[in-house]
């Protein structure tokens, strides 16, 4: 016995033949109080029970003891590996600089016209979108141009090759905020994926997932929820836990954006459970923060607080100070809204300063509005008015910036006239907070 636990051999012997175990009573007592040994025993018992199932025996009988992959498949695998290595040698030196890549005009060069080069470009584009979406777009478009020149007769799975390139174009356009073009690219991706002899639903699921995110960005939340759910179902079939959880996050986000917090919260909670089990910490952090936000809206502050605390721990572990700052801000704002102005306002002011330090200026402006609403509610008019006058926001789109400025102008006017209320400030804050997800929304004052 290993200190206080039974060994695997002892547990296995007990599972096989309980009557053979010396001091069976003591064994039973230990199992009753030791969950670790009990669980280990259950695994062994489940394994023994599975040996009664005839199917695994049938499977075993049908399997040769040693086998080699068919020669044709093996030589194809070698040929593809060689072609991929050659493509890497050709293209890799060019993708360190967008200018050098553009100047190389590889789509005009015969030696680059291979499926391997297309695959390499698509992979490179996929890793580029977040940092340099314009370059990601260039890589995807070059891949598309090469695909168009590949002969259908000698390129197996040409549709999949082209579909992936269209999908990468869509991804790049999504990061660039060119959503209409992104959707067109996704239409093309879907079409060419279908043109293949055997369409793989996994590819279509990725298209659905990207489309769901585009729909979320363009305020079509019902479509976003539907597509994310559809994609998630397929990711399950392909055992892709990370993509499944990401799709579920988008689904929850779709509900969240239309204020259906009671429906969004259980989705985020289910993602939390699975992400925790799968050790997907980034997804876990996001789901915790989102679940907390839902419960905060639902006025279930204890639950929200617990989720925020855990999200904070996750982002601390991942060392993401910006997310930590956002969570501290959300917690402080929730505290003020719940009436705890004494501590809440001080925390909110600290959070605001922290957001400014990280350069998160729009978030800092929203935090300023939270602070101003709290100060007004506590009768601190002058300080609140001064904060309201100091706020400025900028968005990538000119139209969105104009809408934001309209809302802020309304607020400044209310401050100047001296009859600004905490509700006015919260109204403007809610509008500005939602603006990135609802860029076409017009500001309509409550009064």
């Amino acid at each position: 016995m290993n200190m206080s636990h039974y060994t695997e051999n002892e547990l296995s012997a007990y599972s096989l033949r309980p009557e053979s175990v010396i001091d069976r009573e003591r064994f039973g007592d230990h199992l009753a109080s030791c969950s670790e040994c009990r669980e280990a025993l259950e695994v062994i018992q489940a394994f023994d029970a599975a040996l009664h199932d005839p199917l695994p025996w049938k499977v075993a009988d049908s399997m040769p003891n040693s086998g080699r992959p068919p020669g044709a498949l093996l030589s194809r695998a070698r040929a593809i590996a060689d072609a991929d290595a050659h493509a890497r040698t050709l293209v890799e030196p060019l993708i360190h600089s967008a200018i050098r890549f553009r100047e190389a005009r590889i789509d005009q060069d015969e030696q680059f016209r291979t499926a391997s080069v297309v695959r390499f470009l698509c992979n490179a584009a996929n890793g580029m979108h977040e940092r340099q979406p314009e370059f990601g777009l260039l890589l995807a478009d070059t891949a598309l141009s090469i695909v168009a020149s590949l002969p259908e007769t000698t390129t197996p799975y040409l549709g999949a090759c082209a579909g992936t390139a269209w999908k990468e174009r869509a991804n790049a356009l999504r990061f660039l905020g060119r959503f209409k073009e992104a959707e067109e690219a996704l239409d093309h991706a879907e079409e060419v994926f279908h043109s293949d002899r055997d369409v793989e639903p996994f590819d279509l699921a990725i298209v659905d997932y990207v489309r769901a995110t585009v729909c979320a960005e363009t305020e079509r939340f019902e479509d976003s929820v539907r597509l994310a759910r559809k994609a998630a179902e397929q990711f399950v079939v392909y055992g892709d836990q990370r993509r499944y959880l990401s799709a579920r996050l988008v689904e929850g986000f779709g509900y969240y954006c239309v204020d259906r917090h009671a429906e969004a919260a259980p989705i985020f909670e289910s993602v939390i459970g699975s992400a925790r089990a799968a050790n997907e910490m980034w997804i876990l952090g996001g789901a915790l923060a989102n679940a907390a936000a839902c419960y905060s809206h639902l006025r279930e502050r204890d639950k929200a607080s617990a989720f925020y605390t855990e999200a904070l721990a996750v982002f601390t572990m991942l060392d993401v100070p910006t997310e930590r700052a956002r969570i501290r801000w959300a917690v402080a704002a929730m505290r003020v809204e719940g009436g705890d102005c004494e501590d809440g306002l001080a925390e909110l002011a600290d959070s605001r300063d922290e957001l400014i330090r990280f350069g998160l200026s729009n978030d800092a402006s929203l935090a300023t509005l939270d602070l101003a609403a709290g100060l007004l509610a506590s009768g601190e008019f002058d300080q609140a008015a001064s904060l309201c006058r100091s706020i400025a926001v900028t968005f990538a789109s000119e139209g969105v910036t104009r809408s934001a400025q309209k809302a802020l102008a309304y607020l400044r006017e209310a401050v100047t006239s001296g009859d600004v209320t905490p509700e006015d400030v919260r109204d403007v804050r809610t509008f500005l907070g939602r603006l990135p997800a609802r860029p076409r929304q017009e500001f309509l004052p409550i009064r």
Binding site: E8, N9, S12, A13, L16, R17, S20, I44, F47, D48, A50, L51, H52, D53, P54, L55, P56, W57, K58, V59, A60, D61, S62, M63, N65, G67, R68, P69, P70, L73, R76, A77, I80, D84, A115, R119, N123, N126, P156, Y157, A160, C161, T164, D198, E200, P201, F202, D203, A232, E233, V236, V237, Y238, G239, D240, Q241, R242, R243
Partner: protein, 153 residues
Amino acid sequence: MEHERLLRSIAQFRFDIPPGDAESLVHDIFASYLERQPDAIDVKAYLVGSINHACRHYWRKRKHEAPLLTEHEGNAYGDERARVELWTLRLSLGATLARLGGKCSETLRRYYLRDESVEAIATNLETSPAYVWQLLSSCRKRARQIYTSITHP
């Protein structure tokens, strides 16, 4: 090769596809995987998803030969995941037993599948019951080790 066996077993035993056709389907799945190189995080799980789809497609094309059972149809979320997991576990156990081979496989088969008593097995193997108990113990342990190496490579 481990994946190949698993995929072929899924086709043959989960979807009742004749052995020759099952082999062709698996070959196509590998060929497709090699050419397309999908961005799959878990290759084994991806291939399992792919063979499941190919098998359903196979039977849909041959509707008049044998109807696709409801349990073979893809289903949303938990159901399908649980079903795929259960099948994967059963087939992984099959691969384990195939690898076990020899006296171990035979002893476990007699005891667990055919419900033969330890005494009967001992008589048949011309040995003592105590030795059979020992054999059962060590073979189960070996099987669990192989199973773990297959399911958590």
